[in-house]
């Protein structure tokens, strides 16, 4: 029985290692193939290839960036903006991502959400990703409690660490506060990016409802509510309407 268990474990480990390495080997090749399609001007095909890589649950800012470029060149402003935003979430300090996102946003017509001070992608909160804020807060937390623990074990260190402990506590509180705000934005707010040419936001969550406003491809709208397959959205200027789920791409945060 014990021998069978060992064999089973070995088999699972082997499959995992080989599939993992094969996947890792395939992704750069597919990435290069997509880049080649892009260079040849086959933007739609390049976008499809980039999207295929993304479906393998492996991401990188550059992958989203290239995917956004391909969608932009293919005329899909909404998908391009969604891709650039996801790239910006992974690499918020990448100037090229921000430049392309801004350039694409400038091509969008009609109502769209303007970034607020609390937006993830603008302002000082956007300097770090949510995971980076989490890491910073975790490091500060560990450091603070390490110092506190050291002073408990060796009370003589209290004098030597007199300045460090309050500083570490302050850094911890500050980073945790930032993390709290960032997490609140990330987990409680959602943005819908219109990915179809023109959509009519309706006054109610049904097809027969009156038109509230028209949003164009690439418009970024804040999600207020959900009902079945409908999303209640606003462009931030007071206009509210309902869109169907498949007309937009959902992104966390504002």
């Amino acid at each position: 029985m014990k021998m069978y268990l060992h064999i089973l474990l070995a088999a699972v480990a082997t499959v995992w290692i080989f599939t993992g390495s094969a996947m890792a080997a395939d992704i750069p090749a597919e990435f290069s193939a997509a880049n080649k399609l892009y260079a040849e001007g086959k933007f739609a095909d390049a976008a499809t290839t980039y999207e295929k890589i993304l479906q393998s649950k492996t991401v990188s800012p550059k992958l989203y960036f290239n995917y956004g470029n391909a969608e932009f060149k293919a005329g899909n402003l909404g998908r391009a903006i969604a891709a650039y935003r996801q790239a910006a979430q992974l690499a918020p300090r990448d100037a090229e991502v921000r430049a392309n996102l801004e350039f694409t946003r400038n091509q969008v017509q009609g109502p769209t959400l303007r970034e607020s001070r609390w937006s993830r992608t603008s302002g000082w909160l956007g300097l770090l990703t949510l995971n980076e804020w989490t890491g910073l807060a975790a490091v500060a937390l560990w450091l603070t409690f390490a110092l506190l623990t050291a002073t408990q074990i060796r009370p003589a260190l209290k004098t030597a660490l007199r300045g460090f402990v309050p500083g570490a506590v302050a850094v911890t509180l500050l980073s945790c506060a930032c993390l709290g705000v960032d997490a609140a934005i990330h987990f409680t707010r959602q943005t819908a990016v219109v990915i179809t040419p023109d959509v009519t936001a309706r006054s109610g969550p049904f097809e027969e409802a009156q038109s509230a406003f028209t949003a164009h491809n690439g418009a970024e709208l804040a999600v207020l509510d959900r009902r079945d397959n409908w999303l209640q959205v606003t462009d931030g200027s007071g206009r509210i309407g309902w869109l169907q789920r498949q007309q937009v791409e959902m992104l966390p945060g504002s």
Partner: protein, 582 residues
Amino acid sequence: MILAALCLGGARLDAATFTASLDRDNISLGESATLSLTFEGGSPKDLPMPNVPGLQIVNTGNSQNLSIQNGQMSSVVTVTYSITPRKIGEFVIPALVADVGGNQLTSQLLKLAVLPPNAPPPEAVNSGLEVAFMKLTLPEKEVCPGEALAVRLDIYLRDDVQDFRNFQFTGTPASGFTIGKMIETTKQRVQIGNRIYTDVPLEIALTANKTGLVSVGPFTASAVVVLPSANRARDSFPFGMFNTGEQKQVTLATETLNVESLPLPAEGTPANFNGAIGDYTMTVTAGPTNVAVGDPITVRVQISGHGALDALTLPDQPAWRDFKAYPPTSKVAISDQLGLQGTKTFEQIVTPQNTDVHELPAFSFSFFDPGTKSYRTLTQPPTQLAVHSGGTTPAPMMAATKSANSQNPPPPQDILPIKEQFGSLTPAGPPLLAQRAFLAVQSLPVLAWLAAFVWRKRTDSLANNPRLRRQRRVAGLVQGGLNDLHRLAAENNSAEFFATLFRLLQEQLGERLDCPSSSITEAVIDERLVLLGAPQPVLASLRELFQLCNQARYAPMRTSGELAAVIPQFENAVRELQNVKA
């Protein structure tokens, strides 16, 4: 009196009339006639407004006269219009209808003949009889379609003209030409015949627009000249001072000039000729030259020279097949007032479509030069390019961090290129904050600190309580001593066994009685331990153990079994003793 007349009036208005009249029936193009509408015996409810195509009719004033004769009041209302014809021909001013006192009155038809103005004959000009006249001069006898040229129009004013005002062109016909800007150049004085004239030269831009016989003129104009008053006798001041002169309306006309517009030669027409006529030079720049596929390259073409710059367009460049070309933008910078000289700048965005592109092919621009009557082609040599696949182009400044010396970077023309390298792979998943394992790990430092805190509290408590510290030390001694006892019993080492036992009893009792262990003897059992309320069996057991120790000093020989049997008794005694409240 008028008020009285108005109060009296009423019965005399029953004979109201409405008549229309012209001050003259024939005028030359450039002159004006006056139309008068007269209402006698009443006022019109609404003024009739004649509308005749080809005539500009403007109301110039209304007047009313009231008169009373023999107790009868009569009223005459006169409305005048200025009529300025726009073309030559015979015009009919239709009958006008007016509501006067509730009666619909109709005027008669009027005819106005507008004659062509004639340029004065050379004899009249040379004789000095003409107060003012115009002369049109064309620089060339032959033109070609699309050619831009400047025609000169001179307005001559005789030296006795005191003022020249209200100059207005009444006709500028040009068959086969498009008329452009008109500018006035420097006045000069010339002698014509025996009179001195002031020459007011004008230049007019013309562009031929068809082949065959084309003509310009006659240009006609009207103006008011002020001449010295003919009746000097009325001027009471010497030397004609304060002589305000007499105003006189004059009509000016030029001759018609005919020019042959020759078709462009079919032979030798360049392939990329797109109709540009003139005399030009060209400068072409392109940049950036180190780009990725799909990146924009701005081609700036500057065409400078003489010609119809507004009509210039960029020719197609078949050699640019490896580029995607966007519609160009253009702006014209004119360097002369007529708009025939200057520079037209085109900016065209082209994007290379593949990495096989190594140069921007030669750019050529062809035009027909009317001066040499031949086609000319200007060619800019190819521009070397370095085209990479997407992503290798250095990021433009706008994409980089803000530079101190680039305060206003130019707006980007396109997105930045793709990235060649994949970068670090990250498994897609929820953020760390949403992962329970991560959150659980974060509790470790807190738990460690709590443990250290509790440990510190206990350590400090122990340090501040000597009895507790002794209690723990003795407990440790006893625990260790029991092991020793087991070992010594097994070794049948009776002397050491009882020496250890005695020492352990001293330590345990000393700790309970809070006195030095060395001072403990069997006597303290009855003297002090009884006072602590220790149970009698415990006391008896302790006495027995002490006695065994004493006996061993004199008769140390015992078996291992006997020694081992003592250990449980000791353990029970110690356990009971520890329960005794110290």
